[in-house]
């Protein structure tokens, strides 16, 4: 196998990995603020793709408007998940939100199955037609846009968390919810906003990946699982960590297929995740928690 094949795998892996990273950023956002995770992230990814396809291809809306509306609805969906499937259980100190978010994701998947249809659809994109050669590799614009979008969003999130009032408030809730409330921060509202953000991140991933993949009710399931693996691998408490975790997982998968063939790639990539976690339980970029006793 030559250098060019590995370079091609690197680009392929970076594209898919950024998608894992984007969805994983949603896991990070909610976990950082509320110590809960939105396991309906896969369904948010699907919702973004399905809504964009329906609005732009079937209803002939301008693409910009279709994307905007899809993201607004993904955000609302994320907020809805928090209100319905997380808040009531957290209030009772129950961990049942784990199952409730999974269940809500499945419900949405089934609603889409019956309303959108059972047939997977193909989303076209003018970006697929813009091709160019780079170092002997044939690429299209979407392949470069996907990782670029992933990194821009991760950077905005990291900067926003650090330098904006909203970001600082979210981090304050993460550190001490009661103290934050005493300082006048409406923690319930902000946790809802964190879930809305997680829905938007997954929606963006869905919209970006749709032209490379197929649009269907079940398209988010595998992405949701792999993105969670990426979040754990990178360290779910670090925005840069989950993004890097996604990239690592995507690139590892692509390189393993290139080097060893497709038969054993899944086995090796998940095996590698377990090995890393055994050596660094907080993830590659996470900090080990300190328990005061």
């Amino acid at each position: 196998m030559g250098l060019q094949e590995y370079l091609s795998a690197l680009i392929t892996g970076a594209g898919i990995g950024s998608m894992y990273g984007l969805v994983a950023l949603g896991y990070y956002t909610t976990y950082a603020v509320s110590r809960t995770v939105n396991f309906a992230q896969g369904s948010s990814l699907m919702l973004g793709a399905v809504l964009t396809f329906t609005l732009s291809t079937q209803w002939h809306w301008p693409v910009f408007l279709a994307v905007l509306m899809a993201l607004v609805l993904c955000g609302l969906w994320g907020y809805f998940v928090e209100v319905i499937a997380v808040r009531p259980f957290v209030k009772r100190n129950s961990d049942a939100w784990l199952m409730a978010t999974v269940a809500l994701g499945l419900i949405l998947e089934n609603i889409v199955l019956f309303s959108f249809g059972k047939d997977p659809r193909g989303q076209s994109s003018p970006l697929l037609q813009i091709g160019f050669d780079l170092g002997g590799l044939h690429l299209n614009a979407l392949q470069l846009l996907i990782p670029a979008a992933g990194f821009v969003i991760a950077s905005i999130l990291a900067l926003g968390m650090r330098f904006t009032t909203l970001g600082k408030s979210l981090l304050a809730i993460a550190q001490n919810r009661i103290a934050a409330r005493l300082m006048g921060i409406d923690s319930e509202k902000l946790i809802g906003i964190a879930f809305a953000l997680s829905g938007i991140f997954a929606g963006i991933a869905g919209i970006l990946i749709a032209p490379l993949y197929t649009v269907s009710a079940g398209m988010g399931t595998v992405f949701g699982i792999k993105a969670f693996a990426a979040a754990i691998l990178g360290g779910i408490e670090s925005a840069a960590g989950v993004m890097m975790g996604g990239l690592l997982l995507g690139i590892t998968e692509a390189l393993l297929v290139t080097a060893l063939g497709s038969t054993y790639a899944q086995m090796f990539s998940f095996g590698l995740t377990i090995v890393v976690l055994c050596m660094r339980p907080a993830g590659l970029f996470g900090k080990r928690g300190v328990n005061k006793v």
């Binding site: 094949e5 997977p120 044939h138 197929t214 390189l255 063939g261 497709s262 899944q266």
Partner: protein, 388 residues
């Protein structure tokens, strides 16, 4: 008082009459089952099979049915999942009391249903799934029949086509990672060995793969001069999109799984580059049967031309299979599973849509179609047309 008694008596009589009537109506039905993918990436295959079966049944029922009873189709969606297919087949046999079962596009689902059909002595007729072991399952007596292609024979035809059309001497295999892909891996390797050519490599594609570039790169590096694809519409489309992204214009010859979904829409402009196998083309010279079916497709499903027929092979195979089953039930003069099985093996002749079948089944040969019935086709602007 007397008046009210009379009313009660007449109500009771009416109820009894309607009960007897409904019982007699129920007795006048012969149920046949279909377990196929009616949703998911291969949903079009299930719809096409349903259309073929329905048109054949309506035709038979219009002539008085079978053994004087009407045929009724009971459908179940297996969602391309073997456990769901098994549950559906069991339910159709035990609750719905179907006299025979038809299968769908997915070899893994059909393979899972085979033991149930044999244990319950219910004829199971495959109308799409081509896995060799579906019919060659080792059971005696064998209740599994097929009016469709068979992998081993398709594999020989695909290798032969790649060699003759593209002068291929080193094709690469790209196969879906499931039992159907595995079954074809053996068949294609054997066919290549028999034809004295080498195989560049074998790569697998998963149902949920987004990018197949790494697998294709391996085949390209190994010097593949053609690709032989065995996958359903979804993973097949992912492979084609990756090939396009790479800018690799290698010829692609495919098994027919890709025609079970919206392959042309999923792939985009390069869908027409794939030449794939079918058992029938509605573009063949018209026959009385094809004209009749085209008219019915138009009347029932709004199909205007041959090019508008979705997953045509499903409709064609299913139509002939239903007619053969009806003929067997008439011949057996019974709806008993074993009697139907024996009658299927003794059918002398039937002039159908795909061809005139002469002794379509025997013991142990349960394949109604042979390689000479295969045709090569391609997508052209969303329509399946024969390769010129």
């Amino acid at each position: 008082m007397k008046h009210s008694r009379r009313i009660h008596a007449s109500v009771a009589m009416a109820a009894l009459t309607s009960l007897a009537l409904s019982a007699s109506l129920q007795a006048a039905e012969i149920k046949v089952g279909l377990v196929a993918a009616l949703s998911g990436q291969s949903a079009q295959s299930g719809e096409a099979i349903t259309r073929g079966l329905t048109i054949a049944m309506d035709e038979i029922n219009a002539k008085g049915g079978v053994l004087g009873d009407k045929l009724v189709l009971i459908k179940r969606d297996d969602e391309s999942s073997p456990p769901k297919g098994v549950t559906a087949a069991r339910e159709l046999i035990s609750s719905e009391k179907v006299v025979a079962l038809f299968g769908g596009i997915d070899t893994p689902v059909s393979l899972a249903i085979v033991p149930i059909a044999n244990q319950n002595k219910k004829p199971f007729i495959g109308v799409w799934a081509a896995g060799t072991n579906i019919t060659k399952n080792g059971a005696t007596p064998n209740y599994v029949f097929r009016v469709s292609a068979q992998d081993d024979l398709v594999d020989i035809a695909l290798i032969k086509y790649a060699m003759s059309k593209y002068n291929s001497k080193n094709p690469g295999l790209i196969l879906v990672n499931n039992p159907w892909g595995e079954s074809n891996e053996k068949g294609l390797k054997a066919a290549a060995a028999a034809a004295n050519i080498s195989i560049a490599g074998v790569e697998k594609v998963e149902q949920a793969d987004v990018d197949v570039t790494p697998q294709l790169n391996r085949l390209k590096t190994a010097g593949a001069d053609a690709l032989i694809l065995v996958a359903n519409a979804g993973p097949g489309a992912q492979m084609m999109k990756s090939r396009e992204r790479m800018g690799w214009n290698v010829p692609v010859v495919s098994h027919w799984g890709i025609s079970g979904g919206r392959f042309d829409e999923l792939v985009g402009p390069t869908a027409g580059d794939v030449h794939f196998i079918q058992t029938y083309s509605f573009f063949s010279p018209p026959t009385p049967a094809s004209e009749k079916i085209m008219a019915e497709l138009g009347k029932k499903y709004g199909v205007k031309t041959a090019a508008d027929i979705i997953a045509p092979v499903g409709t064609a195979n299913a139509y002939d299979a239903m007619q053969l089953l009806a003929q067997a039930i008439e011949q057996a003069k019974s709806t008993d599973g074993d009697a139907i099985r024996q009658a299927l093996e003794q059918i002398e002749s039937y002039t159908g849509l795909i061809k005139t079948y002469k002794k379509p089944f025997a013991t142990p040969a349960h394949e109604a179609l042979a390689p000479e019935d295969y045709v090569m086709v391609r997508y052209d602007a969303g329509k399946i047309v024969p390769v010129k």
